[in-house]
Subunit: 687 residues, 2 copies
């Protein structure tokens, strides 16, 4: 074990497939223990899977069928090949002690061991969930080799670090159709995530059919909602992939869409409209009316039957309290009950709702704000505030989930998410028992700026890095190795039908109004959307759900691979760890970028969507020219005139500013070149 | 009208969108009459559609919803934008005289006229089918412009030349799942094809659920078949797109898969197995047994109810007669009934089957071989033999369809299909009345070498050229214009979800075992699969349905755009119609190809699937070097030594031979360069 971790911490695991071949093993999440052996198991049309011992239950059968289907995609084998056979003849023999629970539970055993040799493979697991996780590991190891498709000989022992590894998708701000969710469930399964948290209602839309309260979807969804049959279909799809589905109905705030059909639930008289803007809004349920709880009792009962999972998320975040402040009846109620603040009133609401959730057999989950020590200890707190907040909850005996640092809609680089450790800050000082109450975490995809067309590109591959943080060892922190493996996972996700890569060129073609997008792509490959909530902050026109998401900012990747690669090249040049090729490659990129503006100009003329990137294109050319000059000074070890240096710093500062909601990601590396060549530090940017 | 056709015959129609912009209008099939105007209609989120006159029937409503959905894809608008509204406020006003038939019929009116101005558009049609066709034309005209998304101001009058414009897909030799068929129906609708001919049974599989004879699918399909619900779903999907669905159950030959479950239908005792090979096989139904007709009566009755279309295809092709020859009872029957040949026996069978088809209310269709003058005149003959065969049928009073020349599985270039004119040869000499009996034609996709992964790439974009042949004017024959427009249609088909372009890179990545496929792609971009039936003829190992379709030959495009472009460059160089850029581009390609072999070598070592293209990679480098030298001689107007010329011709002849079932498509252009530089003609290739 120790020897293996020593390998892991320095980077990738390399495989010796045969005398001629050595290739990195691109597993993600990295298993707990990996021991390399020599040789490999060839995967050809005669490949078979068998089940040892008990006859397979439906779920195990489905798992293997899904596995074979994926293996066929990976190898191009027809559906007639690669069958399930008797254990005695199987190339991959599966042993599974017992079925997993009919309704998947938190904390079920997901461990497995996988032993692959040149003659066959064996997968052992306690439950069907462990089999699923092991099969995903097997799939990630399939390689094209000189001998055929093959999996390297290897021994793996694996189990997850955290039992709750989730992805939340907000389908309210933009509706995300069922097929898009399904392909994302495939992506989740590939990286061993096990909870799909479905944010089903918010100000901008109520997305589930209620048979008891049909005006919820009829008036609150623009016709964009899931029928109950579709919900069941999605849950079954997730179940087949070892994924729990936790529904969230946000209350008492974030609830405008409910009030379009049922204004009587609100704390101010209606009528209400579906909200089209983003932000925090005033409408909130009236916690002082018994009819509110009567409604919620029936509603939660209906949804508790529809969603089999043990957990039921009530949101509970971001109530601004304005409707409560303005309503004399509510104020009177608060006085009569000795409530001093709106937080007290929300705590009262939560306590009432928790009893309803509990009455219908479920365990309540909510965001940070729900936490008050008078709630029962079985509830779970999902923290967007951070590890200290989780630690505080744990100290009070509550279980928690981390989402702070895992908001993938903020367009952070994968490395930044990867560095977010759940057991950190105050959480690191908890006792081992208290740490047990930190169940894991969830990546969150809030959907202000995603559509079915670009949501995959906002989720993948970066979410895989979060999945690794939640599954793999705490000391697995090598960023270079993570990025190397992330690239492989990204291609594997392509095979599963995710469109994070494939949607890019068509969107650029639409923007350009041309099939020949090479100069546009040269530019967009080094652009990223602005980060955090800057898009709202600097918007020229307030964004709404009616705005088309067809701009360059909607098409570019959240993280520029090209810029990262270029920055790496510059860093190694400046660190002196470099050969002539590195310098040549830097020069090649700079000269391409310098010349790109001229090539992009004809496209710019013919597209209204390109107007906002014209300044970025000009900046790229100018910055590249700066880089070429700096490289030249650096190369000749000649100090540039101070006037030149000052001019370049001014230019770079200007080029670093967002334009068209986009950032030019090669500016910092070029600044480093200027600093290195001039021996001067760039001045701090002026606000 | 004359002026317009004058424009069409010289090439593309150019639009003046604004003072600054002129772009080709990429309509395919080209409408019957197009009149350009100035200005354009902007398509923004406020775009609306209204229906004039009658309240819309379901089909019209669906058509418009599908149109809006496609328009949203094309523009990136959210589902909340671009609505159906009252006629008075509509940007696009639709007037439709009457609904099309509940079950779409052959020959229904598909004409439409479209008038677009800067302020709005009007679409007039007699039936809903015409509306659908006009909406597709509208979609093809949406462009990204400096003013926004826009459709040029234009007046179009359009109607199809032939009423039957089909695509046959064989789902027996390889099963094609429902979702793949659906996306291909979208492709068909985009190019105004109106018949999906579903080849549902053959030796290699019986693909429809029969409730009366369940062993057909249970034993004859490897579990790969469509349920009756799925069939109804597909028919509804096609109906919404103005496409008829004609089922084919091939009989009495091509029927091994039936006999696995029902050997008593065959002319020799069983047991039978699903056929795994390709070719013509002995098993045939026994036409002498009354039980055969009893079975077929019940079966055809069941399928006649499942498939609402008026036409019912019984195949009838390629009976080799061996089982009939060997069966003494059949021989005795033939003698007793005065039948001299197996053709007589098949004619008897066809006559009996025709009566059953007719009894169940349907009109029979069959391949060439069914034609015998004693069949009723309402049957339709589908000809794989050619226009003369069609003419002969027409002379006898039968209606016919051309498929000769439209077999897209043979990997011909689009131009070759495009040149196949239904009213040609003997058909051109028919009287106008007789010509009316030529209903149109069908592209045919036989599926020996296609899987769900690569079938789209074998169908598209080439099938669009056939669609134009069947819809547009007979004198529209400009190949350059066709290719120009085909490229645009190909991208539009991408938007519809077809994978003909997107499947290429992932297949190459699998083959290479690497994400970096640029040197492989440099090679495969100039390769094509061997043509016609060469793949069977030169196969080292006999191909079967069990063979993986994951080789380079399965990934490369049927027609190399790069090679076609390079050939065009060389042709214009040699014709003297060229500038320095052309010569430079030729030189650039040649030098890239020359250097590619070195770059591909590292990949070749690591993949078993690349071994068979190593000789092609070597050839490409060698041929490119030849080209460079020839260009140099040509440039300096220096005649090369004869020994050099002879050597190059030998090299080129060798390089022209198929390897790995692939052809190197740049050889002919390089040969032209050698011929031009040397003043010698290459010797005829030795067989």
């Amino acid at each position: 074990m120790r020897a293996i971790f020593a390998i892991l911490t320095v980077g990738s695991v390399f495989l010796s497939l045969s005398a001629a071949e050595t290739r990195p093993l691109s597993l993600m999440p990295m298993p707990a223990s990996v021991q390399m052996k020599t040789g490999h198991l060839v995967i050809d049309p005669s490949f078979t899977v068998g089940i040892q011992g008990r006859s397979p239950d439906t779920l195990l059968q489905h798992s293997i069928e899904i596995f074979l289907d994926n293996l066929r995609r990976r190898t191009g084998m027809p559906p007639l090949d690669m069958k399930i056979v008797d254990a005695a003849q199987a190339k991959l023999l599966i042993h599974c002690e017992r079925p997993s629970k009919a309704v998947q539970e938190l904390g079920e055993d997901e461990s497995y061991s996988l032993d692959v040799s040149a003659t066959g493979a064996k997968l052992d697991a306690v439950t069907t969930l462990g089999v699923m996780r092991g099969l995903q590991t097997f799939l990630q190891m399939v390689q094209t080799t000189s001998d055929g498709f093959a999996v390297p000989a290897i021994t793996i022992q694996d189990k997850p670090r955290f039992p709750w590894r989730g992805l939340m998708i907000d389908v309210s701000r933009h509706f995300i159709p069922l097929d898009v969710l399904k392909r994302n469930l495939d992506g989740m399964a590939a990286v061993k995530l096990n909870v799909f948290h479905w944010h089903l209602s918010d100000n901008q839309g109520f997305r589930v059919e209620s048979k008891k309260f049909p005006k919820l979807q009829e008036l609150g969804s623009d016709g964009l909602y899931y029928t109950q049959d579709e919900v069941r279909d999605l849950i079954a799809y997730a179940h087949d992939r070892g994924i729990r589905v936790v529904p969230e109905f946000d209350m008492p705030g974030h609830s405008t869409a409910w009030f379009v059909g049922y204004p009587e639930l609100a704390s101010a008289p209606g009528p209400y409209q579906i909200e089209r803007k983003w932000g925090i809004f005033d409408p909130a349920m009236d916690p002082t009316q018994e009819q509110t709880y009567k409604f919620l009792d029936a509603f939660i009962g209906e949804m508790a039957r529809l969603f089999p999972d043990q957990f039921f998320h009530i949101g509970g975040d971001e109530v601004n309290g304005k409707q409560w402040d303005a309503n004399p009846n509510i104020q009177a109620f608060m006085r009569a009950h000795g409530m001093k603040t709106n937080q007290d009133l929300q705590a009262y609401f939560n306590t009432r709702v928790q009893k309803l959730v509990s009455k219908h057999g479920k365990t309540m989950v909510g965001w940070d704000e729900i936490l008050r020590p008078d709630l029962p200890k079985d509830i779970v707190v999902q923290s967007w505030r951070g590890q200290d907040s989780l630690a505080a909850a744990a100290k009070l005996g509550y279980r928690g989930l981390l989402s702070f640092g895992y908001y993938v809609d903020l367009n952070w680089p994968a490395s930044r998410h990867y560095a977010v450790e759940p057991i950190n800050g105050a959480a690191a000082n908890l006792s081992p028992e208290e740490q047990q109450s930190i169940l894991g975490g969830e990546a969150c995809m809030w959907s202000e700026y995603v559509s079915p067309e670009n949501i995959d590109s906002r989720l993948w591959p970066r979410t895989a890095a979060i999945a690794e943080r939640l599954w793999s060892a705490q000391d697995l922190t090598d960023v270079q190795s993570m990025y190397q493996r992330l690239q492989h996972v990204s291609r594997w996700l392509d095979w599963l039908g995710l469109t994070h890569n494939s949607s890019y060129a068509p969107m650029l073609q639409r923007i350009a109004g041309s099939n020949d997008i090479s100069p546009l792509r040269m530019l967009t490959d080094v652009l990223e959307p602005v980060k955090d909530y800057t898009r709202e902050e600097i918007a020229a026109v307030e964004a709404t759900s009616l705005a088309p998401l067809n701009r360059v900012v909607d098409a570019v990747r959240p993280e520029s691979e090209t810029a990262r690669h270029f920055t790496d090249l510059v860093n190694s040049l400046l660190a002196g760890q470099t050969d002539n090729n590195t310098k040549q490659e830097i020069a090649m990129w700079l000269s391409r970028w310098r010349d790109n503006q001229t090539k992009l100009q004809p496209l710019e003329k013919q597209s209204f969507l390109l107007q906002e990137v014209v300044p970025l294109s000009q900046d790229l050319s100018a910055v590249a020219l700066t880089g070429i000059q700096a490289l030249d000074y650096f190369d000749r070890s000649e100090r540039p005139p101070d006037s030149w240096t000052t001019e370049q710093f001014t230019l770079l500062e200007q080029a670093q500013k967002p334009k068209g909601q986009l950032l030019l990601m090669v500016v910092p590396a070029v600044r480093e070149l200027v600093e290195a060549s001039s021996g001067q530090k760039a001045p701090l940017p002026q606000k």
